[in-house]
Symmetry: C2
Subunit: 461 residues, 2 copies
């Protein structure tokens, strides 16, 4: 007897009508009456369940009726077409056998549960509709990201996460050590890192960009995609201490080219996820964010607005409304500003050429001497999802910026050497994977798009 | 004028003959005479270079002749067919312009350099033939791994790397903390982790398997693919403190199914890398491991041997040779044993059903009460590259094993609950990404298949 997945039954129903098949999965619901019963079975292969009908001609009919939610079962029977039912097919069981009858303490019984509660059972929540959809979309989007870059000749770089230096400063980095914290070796009253595994103080890095630039100068186009840790002690809906980031870096690419890439990339992801996960997106549209699908479809056809930071501030200052944070030319955009700008243009907006004083040392100084060739992409509903820049490719200029900003040049000698040995106009951006997922699914809390989220005071599972 | 990549010129030469094109890349070699010169240009898109011919009709002919190795340039000109030359085409330049003339201190001049030296310039070595090939293959294999699993309905799980517990024990895990190691807060003479970011002691995990099992019980088939850190203080050719791992986990899958999967997976990777990176593999075959391609081709068609650990020891004991480590029934296989076994069978060998005392608590206890359903895949030339097992799915039995092995059950309550709420026969394996790469490229040191390797006392770049 052929073992098939539920996905296969949905995708190729015609092929299986009238066949004897076997499925293996878990009970989502079970209803029984005196002579027959229905089981909704899910095997994880597909968002939807298949319905199994069993009758009292089965030897273990009474046992089956007692099977609990989440019991693991093997079902054999005929795959039949049904008329006028919610689903157009079902399995008429000749055998229903439990492998492990779920304990009745199983917390995901039929009733509605809050997102907060779900986080306390992160090991079980992917068995629910919402999280089954979220984490399947997460998986497919991850693949689409790889596919996008690979098909376009980018080389995937797994940048190191252990580091001794970091361009973003060590304030946000975790310390990493093999030393026993309760018995630290000391030298002159300070920790003696020469006894640690790497012989010096090490951290987990918050970015792969600098290493990305080295590879971009060998392969032309590269991307990273890996976990990032930050120590930020902030309990918001959009911050987690462990998240994944995508950081492409491209040689012979200026800020305009970079915006072209970002726009093309985002449209590709949105277009393909609409095609590849229609059931999941319909579910989100119905239960999580009304209008989600329309919002996403619109992105795929709209031209993204491009404007200078200064122009954005002009618009904000002219707006006839009160601000919690007053918009200023020399300053960052607040969440409320991002929201206003995307609503003003009714679509995604690139805000570019930012004041140099609020940006990183490696960003290309513009000719005005005041702004840098940085760009943030703001999207309706999610605010900033990508931040990028053209990099300063001139050795003397970048050294000057590092001096101004008190950044240690010695540790980064290798990074500076890229400017000596065949430097190029080059650019890159960073995309928070979870921010993108929140945008694509409508989920409002980053904790609900990460399988096992780590946030301040929360490192369970 | 159309900007094209060198890859495009090689793949679709016919399309470009006679066209005016532009390329941007770096000088690999430059030879000049009085009236003309040749430049080998590489743009990172392809393993091979394209040849550019420039003549003294160019205004800056004398300048071009002085361009150094690794100078970044823009070339414009006609793409022409050549007769009888090494390459069947070249670019007849109408313009050659440097963007940044590489400093003459550039360390990768033409002469041969050792692998050891290359590690000291990890930011530049991807510009050489060897490392260009290695890291392009690394990128393509990473994608193939994703493609293999995604096409077969596996869900990609990004398992957390910050953890409080670990099934492998904390001895090999790095400590992770936001606390200032020079000013640790104390309570009763011990570090007061309640003041750390997560409010307790945290580590970087060495495996995603346990989390993988939770997702396998929701999605049926899942895989992880991410970085793994281990504190092992060993300076061998096959150990690094940061490496990448792939860990698939499959519900309703026993040990035989798992071996089928491993065999199919490895054959898929080998077959596709041969097709997708022929230039790189030819290079490795010629300069790194003679016979590599033949070795790989053979794997795609051979049937992998499957034998019990006991049978393997029988063979080793009967072998007419001296051992550094005497083979014993209750013990692990040494490198020399692995080598002998793969040579004995002249191909990949699954060694299964290992003595329980040398294996992890979560492995399924066989009916003999002495062995567990674990399997290692040994391949010629690389030894063990995959290690997997059927997992103990019985609640009482796994609890008993944890008691015997003194493993804290409280921390892992969520893992144990998988055995209460719809447990399944399930299995999974772990594959060290770098071990696989060494096997595929013939590179002999793990430091040379990792972009920026981290090993004891070495955390540069």
């Amino acid at each position: 007897m052929e073992k098939v997945t539920i996905k296969e039954l949905f995708k190729n129903s015609e092929k299986y009508y009238g066949s004897q098949i076997q499925i293996q999965g878990w009970i989502r619901t079970l209803r029984d009456s005196k002579n027959f019963g229905f089981i909704e079975v899910n095997d994880g292969s597909y968002f939807k369940n298949v319905q199994v009908v069993f009758e009292n001609n089965l030897d273990n009919f009474d046992d089956i009726c007692k099977y609990t939610i989440s019991t693991s079962i093997t079902v054999e029977g005929e795959f039949v077409k049904t008329e006028g039912a919610k689903q157009s097919f079902e399995i008429k069981a000749s055998k229903v056998e439990a492998f492990n009858i779920a304990d009745s303490s199983y917390p995901l019984q039929k009733k509605h549960q809050t997102m907060e509660y779900m986080r306390t059972i992160a090991h079980l929540r992917p068995r629910t509709n919402t999280f089954s959809a979220v984490f399947r979309v997460r998986s497919v989007v991850a693949f689409l990201i790889h596919r996008y870059f690979q098909e376009r000749g980018y080389v995937y770089l797994t940048s190191p996460i252990i580091t001794c230096a970091d361009c973003e400063g060590s304030a946000e980095m975790f310390n990493l050590t093999k030393l026993d914290l309760d018995n630290l070796p000391l030298k002159d009253g300070k920790v003696d890192y020469s006894q640690d595994l790497f012989g010096k103080k090490t951290f987990i890095t918050g970015t792969g960009q600098l290493h990305g630039e080295t590879f971009a100068h060998a392969f032309g186009k590269i991307y990273t995609f890996g976990p990032t840790l930050r120590t930020e002690n902030s309990n918001t809906k959009t911050h987690a201490n462990e998240f994944w980031m995508i950081e492409p870096e491209i040689a012979f690419c200026d800020l305009e080219d970079l915006m072209d890439l970002e726009e093309d990339f985002l449209k590709y992801i949105v277009k393909n996820i609409l095609e590849m996960c229609p059931e999941e997106l319909e579910f989100f549209d119905k239960f999580i964010e009304n209008g989600l699908i329309e919002k996403l479809k619109k992105v795929t056809t709209s031209k993204f607005t491009r404007l200078d930071h200064k122009e954005a501030i002009d618009i904000l200052k002219k707006a006839d409304r009160e601000w919690e944070f007053k918009p200023e030319y020399g300053e960052d955009l607040a969440k409320e500003h991002e929201k206003y700008i995307t609503e003003y243009f009714n679509g995604p907006v690139f805000v570019k050429n930012w004041p140099k004083d609020i940006k990183a040392f490696y960003m290309k100084l513009n000719e005005d001497g005041k702004t840098v060739a940085a760009v943030d992409l703001e999207v309706p509903g999610a605010g900033e999802i990508m931040g990028g820049s053209q990099r300063e490719e001139n050795y003397d200029k970048i050294v000057k910026r590092m001096e101004e900003m008190n950044i240690d040049r010695e540790e980064l000698y290798w990074y500076l050497e890229l400017r000596k040995y065949g430097s190029t106009i080059h650019s890159g951006f960073g995309l928070g994977f979870e921010r993108l997922l929140m945008y694509l699914t409508g989920m409002e809390n980053i904790r609900d798009v990460i399988p096992f989220p780590r946030t301040p005071n929360n490192c369970n599972f």
